[in-house]
């Protein structure tokens, strides 16, 4: 497969981009070469165990870990003491939800989350329900955003934590974090946000937004896989129970030897994102709009899923009516996109996120998630548009549903044999 170097060449001005083109930046991002360079010495020269307190190998590693911790804290306006390293956003989300709920069990047994959260939040909540907690799953509006009044009305005296993702992994919509934070703080309820898709893409500040816990992923921001972080507020202090016990690392909240090179990588990724976020967002928005407009100019009946304005610049989620998403993906095999999220796309069910927006099942089956990112060029976009348009046209020409639509037959009027 393409290495980063190949991608870089592709962005450095050739007419035909290097294929396959990676447009799946919400599934994972390539590790930025600058991040890789920063990490490499910590595999070899500074290979020590950062918890070895007795010699310089350990101290060097520890120093690097602490620098990285400060870099992570900086991008979200937190104090470095509030950053817990984990193995990834999945662990961060599990720790935030189960950890806080377990600590407060008996006194506060109610959890609020949203139907469009990442699977690991929903699965953690299901698990809490089995343990006797009560969970409210807030619906979303047609644009993918929650209704703040509904949130307010759902909070009860025994509500322990509200978990609302910052940016949705499938449709890229940004929830109104500052408003949610205000509501939670006023109600004295913890506010957790899964910011795996948000950090480094939109400005985030845990103070201004009154966020108490925030999950961060390394590999979604051009950092390494296998590392994430959880921001845990110290004032007022958030109390949680650890999921992984042992050496008592990370102030007892998460045991296990810290992987120094990965910590360094996440720190560097945050530092780069913090420096470049503004310009990068502008560039991606231009590319995203170019793509969306070119597709709409050439194809009728293309629908955008999720709000366009409250959305990260690197995401498009489009339904190409009458063309099935998986079939379409196969038709654009030079372009790596996804239908549904990466964790579930091996299954055949339509995306639960799209269903939650009220997208009809037949339309949900026709959706593609297109993720643009740091190494996406204008040529990539144009190439992708050309091939997507061709594939959609070809597949529509052989779609019985398209044929019926052209003949004016209402597909809903047909008695389908659901199987």
């Amino acid at each position: 497969m393409s290495s980063l170097q190949d991608m870089k060449i592709a962005t450095e001005g050739q007419n035909r981009p290097k294929t396959p083109i990676y447009l799946d930046y919400q599934a994972t991002t390539p590790t930025d070469p600058r991040v890789v360079e920063a990490m490499l010495p910590y595999f070899t020269t500074y290979f020590g165990n950062p918890h070895s307190r007795n010699h310089a190998y350990g101290w060097d590693a520890e120093k690097a870990v602490e620098k990285a911790r400060a870099q992570v804290a900086s991008i979200i306006g937190a104090d470095e003491k509030e950053i817990i390293f984990t193995s990834g956003a999945t662990e961060s989300n599990n720790l935030a939800l189960k950890g806080v709920a377990h600590f407060h069990k008996g006194k506060k047994n109610h959890v609020i989350t949203v139907v469009t959260e990442h699977k690991c939040v929903l699965d953690s909540c299901r698990h809490l329900e089995l343990e006797g907690f009560e969970v409210t799953y807030l619906p979303v509006q047609k644009n993918g955003l929650i209704d703040l009044e509904q949130l307010k009305a759902t909070i009860r005296p025994d509500t322990c934590i509200v978990s609302v993702m910052a940016v949705n992994n499938e449709i890229g919509v940004i929830q109104p974090l500052a408003e949610i934070g205000k509501i939670c703080r006023a109600a004295k309820v913890y506010f957790h946000t899964d910011a795996a898709q948000a950090v480094g893409k939109i400005p985030l500040n845990v103070e201004e937004m009154n966020i108490d816990l925030m999950s961060i992923s390394g590999h979604k921001i051009y950092g390494p896989k296998g590392l994430g972080a959880l921001y845990v507020r110290r004032k007022p202090r958030v109390r949680l129970e650890a999921l992984i016990h042992g050496g008592g690392q990370e102030r007892g909240m998460r045991s296990g030897t810290l992987p120094t090179p990965l910590c360094v990588g996440l720190g560097e990724a945050c530092a780069i994102a913090q420096r470049e976020m503004g310009a990068e967002a502008e560039r991606l928005k231009t590319l995203r709009d170019r793509m969306y407009n070119k597709i709409r100019e050439q194809l009728p009946e293309v629908y955008l899923n999720g709000d366009l304005d409250s959305r990260i610049p690197g995401n498009l989620n489009l339904s190409f009516a009458y063309v099935e998403g998986e079939g379409l993906m196969m038709g654009v095999k030079d372009i790596a996109v996804s239908s549904g999220s990466a964790c579930t796309s091996a299954s055949l069910e339509p995306s639960y996120v799209l269903r939650a927006l009220g997208v009809e099942e037949e339309l949900a089956h026709t959706s593609l998630r297109i993720g643009l990112g740091r190494f996406t060029s204008e040529q990539d976009v144009d190439y992708a548009v050309e091939h997507i348009v061709q594939a959609v046209q070809r597949l529509r020409s052989m779609s019985p549903l398209w044929e019926m639509a052209q003949e004016g037959i209402d597909i809903k009027s047909i008695q389908w044999a659901e199987h």
């Binding site: 497969m1 393409s2 290495s3 980063l4 991608m7 396959p20 990676y22 799946d24 599934a27 994972t28 991002t29 590790t31 070469p33 890789v36 490499l40 595999f43 070899t44 290979f47 165990n49 918890h51 070895s52 307190r53 007795n54 010699h55 350990g58 101290w59 060097d60 193995s87 990834g88 999945t90 662990e91 599990n94 699977k119 699965d123 590999h219 390494p224 896989k225 296998g226 590392l227 999921l243 016990h245 042992g246 050496g247 008592g248 690392q249 296990g256 030897t257 810290l258 992987p259 090179p261 990965l262 993906m329 095999k333 790596a336 996109v337 996804s338 990466a342 579930t344 796309s345 091996a346």
Partner: protein
Amino acid sequence: MSNAIYMDANATTLPSASALAAMEVALRTAGNPSSVHGFGRATRALVDRARAQVAQLVAAKAENVIFVSSGTEANNLALASGGGRPLIVSGIEHDSVLKPAQLAGARVLQVRRTGQVDLDDLAAALRETGRPAFVSIMLANNETGVIQPVREAADLVHEAGGLLHCDASQAPGRIALDLSALGADLLSLSAHKMGGALGAGALVLKRDIAVNPILLGGGQERFRRAGTENVPAIAGFGAAAEEARTAVHATRLAALRDRLESKLAGVDIAIIGGEAPRLPNTSCIVVAGKSSETLVMALDLAGFAVSAGSACSSGKVRPSHVALAMGYGEEVARSAIRISLGWWNSESEIDLLATRLADFAGRKVHTLPDMQPAA
């Protein structure tokens, strides 16, 4: 950058060249293993290959290898999977076994002065519980290197209808490791203790035992451990496992370690666990009258990186829980230092260390107050 001679392999090893190469390739390969497109499949292939390599290391089936983020997570996952069976652990386990075991109210097994778990106590504990138990006994202790009678323990546990988990983090590349021969039902491994990188571990199952996941979410690792796979660390783990399978360095490491200990014969020191079969690379030494804190610091100044007890503790030097469990008193437990060697160490380094240690010991000759059993 430190110029010290690194003799703390049981804390973490230098990554092997093949592991580094595999990791670098993976670091530069874009893709999420769960994605169905070519980028995803390329990273999936790296994970699959590593899974086969790790399985081969311990002669297990690839589908029974669960990749996790560390040995600590593997141990936590194992102990969470007891399925309600009463829990029994040895007193010299790593904190990542002991802590969750304590929280679950486990019965802690006595350990003999040799550093080996007391099998009579295990038999007694199995009788006490009266129903099939979940037992955790490590293969080789991280502080003393003492190899535990896991096979015998497994027979006792299985006779009583229970399951045996074995934390084998320190074993790969040092001693032979075969899941069937060992008799364990679950086995924990840590990549960075065997020449791989920090950030990957595995729980290996002898057969398809129901695992109670700690991390919920995506369906990764056959629904036993959610979270996007740490592809580079896993790729490095695989390469390290392949290298460890041959244990090419074991003989040389044993020669180095024995050279150190024989050079120290006649010096006022004691070897903890020296009577028992040990890992070839580990020596746990008490120098009369020197606290481990003082000794480790003095050695650091002299250019040797060694450790007092295990590296996971929070900085404050605690008495070694392993030495305490072996029946030694506080003073010895506060004096034990660990020399753990790797393929990178040389004879001349050993000779330098021996001279230094003899020097420290000789400055103030002491007889150890409580090297004899208290009772």
